[in-house]
């Protein structure tokens, strides 16, 4: 078990730097106007989701379009743990990860019988099935379109056995300590750091190399003596468990679970995050998640009034036209901006933000001698 903490020096430095950046979020986000707990929690949670998704999509090369289903399963499980047992987050997280792992085992086992586009379609189909189950068929369990919520009549067996019921709805707690203010964020941040550590272990392990090899040439893998399907299934289940954890944390920060969390747009979002940041790189997906959640927060908060203030300097007649056009890209229409951003990245920077970083580093490192595309892909893990 000690081997678990056997980490190469370079990885250790990356890990420490990453932890510092995550824990210092309230500091460096405040000049950007994003240092409030609700948003920072989202940063941490969606980064966990993207980290796990990258193990399947980035390392193994299987593009799933249904991973939001596992987030939803994680949320429902966590809320049920709150309702039935206790408001403590630890059992809620454990159950969520285990149940999401179970779902991903079944869905992964069936979907991995195919590869390429057929695999993607299968995962999408399963996720849509989960969505409609949650939305209508399983209403007694999921509470349908009104979302699963805490009520005053919840049994909470463990909590009520330990202490008398308080007034009003309880909040999530850890070992008796109720989260308040920024504590919820730090809890999510610690989970993100743990998730990052495990992902880093996988990236630098022989198992990670096998996953990369599967992505690179599955036929060779088979003729080399590897049974590739259990490898891919393991990657699928691990990423499903990350998604389950993310779902549980969403329920921790706001104890409610709705079916919309499982919708295909939510699955698509994590694909965008991973590609935007850099598929198959260790840190890229985290950056992608942060960028998307940050811009979502900025752009969706804009409205015409704000725009008028921004374009104050434009001559009067023109101002109305400029505001009319730009208003389509903000607020409800922020997805238009996201789509544009995505197109630009895929066309000009197919390796995502991480490729951009490498290109810039390459310019400074070896002036006048830009690194070739092949060399760039040699070391994806950083």
């Amino acid at each position: 078990m000690l081997q678990f903490f056997n980490v190469p020096r370079r990885d250790l430095l990356t890990f420490l730097a990453f932890s510092a950046v995550v824990l210092a979020m309230p500091l460096w986000l405040s000049p950007l106007g994003a240092a409030y707990p609700g948003l920072m929690q989202k940063f941490a949670i969606y980064a966990i989701f993207a980290l796990g998704f990258n193990i399947l999509f980035g390392l193994t090369g299987y593009l799933s379009f249904g991973h939001a289903a596992f987030v939803g399963v994680g949320s429902y499980t966590a809320v049920w743990s709150f309702k039935l047992l206790t408001m403590d987050v630890l059992p809620a997280m454990v159950f969520a990860v285990v149940v999401a792992g179970g779902f991903s085992l079944v869905i992964g086992y069936l979907s991995l019988r195919r590869s390429g586009i057929y695999f993607s379609i299968l995962t999408l189909a399963f996720a849509q099935m989960c969505y409609s189950l949650a939305y209508s068929v399983l209403t007694p369990i999921t509470n349908g379109e009104t979302s699963l919520q805490l009520t005053l009549r919840d049994p909470r067996i463990i909590d009520t056995a330990l202490a008398p019921r308080g007034e009003g709805l309880p909040s999530a707690s850890i070992l008796g300590h109720v989260f308040s203010g920024v504590e919820g964020f730090y809890f999510c941040a610690v989970m993100l750091i743990v998730g990052f550590f495990i992902s880093q272990k996988i990236f630098s392990s022989p198992f990670g190399m096998m996953l990369r090899a599967i992505k690179s040439n599955q036929v060779r893998m088979n003729y080399t003596g590897f049974n590739t399907r259990p490898y891919a299934l393991t990657a699928f289940v691990i990423s499903g468990m990350y998604a389950g954890l993310a779902g549980a944390l969403l329920a921790v920060t706001d104890p409610l679970a709705g079916a919309e969390r499982m919708q295909w747009t939510a699955s698509g979002e994590v694909v965008l995050m991973t590609i935007l940041g850099g598929v198959g790189t260790l840190i890229g997906p985290v950056i992608g998640a942060w960028l998307i959640k940050y811009f979502e927060n900025i752009f969706s908060a804009f409205n015409e009034q704000v725009l008028h203030r921004v374009f104050d300097w434009v001559p009067d007649g023109l101002e109305d036209i400029v505001v009319l056009i730009t208003s389509k890209f903000v607020g409800e229409g922020w997805h238009l901006t996201l789509g544009l951003l995505f197109v630009l990245i895929v066309v000009f920077l197919p390796g995502g933000v991480m490729e951009g970083v490498r290109r810039i580093a390459g310019l400074f490192g070896r002036r006048g001698k830009p690194s070739s595309g092949a060399a760039m892909r040699v070391q994806p893990a950083e």
Binding site: Q3, F4, N6, V7, P8, D11, K201, I202, S204, S205, P206, F207, G208, M209, M210, R212, A213, K215, S216, N217, V219, R220, N222, Y223, T224, G225, F226, N227, T228, P230, Y231, T234, A374, A375, R377, V378
Partner: protein, 263 residues
């Protein structure tokens, strides 16, 4: 030398293969002795690839069986056949283009050591010194040690072939199947590949070489089977086969590259 002393590793027993009305293989009977290099040659369309696919279990014979070390190979999955010790080199090098050369050669060593599946995330790759050293030694053998950190996709075709050979050798196969190891290569690459195969031969590894170019095999093989029209028309030591009029006719009448390096 009595028959009992021979140790037969691979036995292709009375194999027939037809696709609809087309008889791709008829009446094929081959025995491959341990430690020997057995070449199967023949003009284009003779059925060499079909035979290889039958041996490797990819195609089921219409009649007959392929027995390796007492076990029937037909119907087994590629990874099971590899784990039994039958390792295949492809006609177009099958490698992991996105991994480094060293990682390409280390990967098969894990299959040999850990079996078909093991989720080993505890011990970092850098701590696997034994496998790393073994891979470096083999890369030294095939002359690619200096390029070990290069992206495998960036190698030349000849280097890819040598690396693929290294990937197979690190598994210490009991039987190595080579499918046209010099196909589409320049004369220089062909010669280095032949030298390399001779080096391997000196280690006493059992090999089956499927080859179109007769010159490649004459210097390597202990035993040659000549395939034409889906049948074995001649068999024996290289010298016997070379002088055989039926072989001359098959090559000169069908294709016409007896003595010429292909492509």
């Amino acid at each position: 030398m009595s028959v009992a002393e021979k140790n037969i590793v691979l036995h292709v027993a009375d194999v027939h293969k037809h696709f609809g009305g087309l008889h791709a293989l008829s009446d094929i009977d081959l025995e491959v002795e341990e430690g020997k290099t057995h070449a199967i040659i023949g003009p284009n369309g003779a059925g060499k690839s079909t035979l290889l696919n039958v041996i490797i279990g990819k195609l089921a014979p219409s009649k007959g069986a392929v027995v390796f070390d007492g076990q029937i190979l037909t119907g087994k999955k590629p990874h099971e056949i590899n784990q039994m010790g039958v390792v295949r080199v492809f006609q177009t090098p099958e490698i992991f283009p996105d991994l480094s050369v060293l990682q390409n050669v280390m990967t098969p060593a894990f299959a040999k050591r850990d079996g078909a599946y093991r989720a080993n995330i505890w011990k970092p790759l850098e701590a696997e010194t034994e496998i790393r050293e073994e891979a470096e030694a083999i890369l030294e053998d095939v002359g690619l040690h200096e390029r070990r950190d290069v992206h495998a996709g960036a190698l030349s075709r000849g280097d890819k072939r040598r690396m693929e050979l290294a990937m197979c050798l690190i598994q210490h196969p009991r039987l190595l199947l080579l499918d046209e190891p010099t196909a589409g290569m320049s004369r220089h690459d062909t010669n280095t590949t032949i030298d390399l195969l001779k080096k391997i031969k000196a280690r006493g590894m059992t090999k089956v070489i499927i080859e179109h170019d007769m010159h490649v095999v004459f210097s390597l093989a202990d035993h040659i089977s000549v395939l034409a029209g889906g049948r074995i028309i001649a068999e024996g030591a290289p010298n016997e086969v070379r002088g055989n009029p039926k072989v001359q006719e098959a090559y000169l009448g069908g294709a016409h590259d007896l003595g010429a390096h292909s492509k």
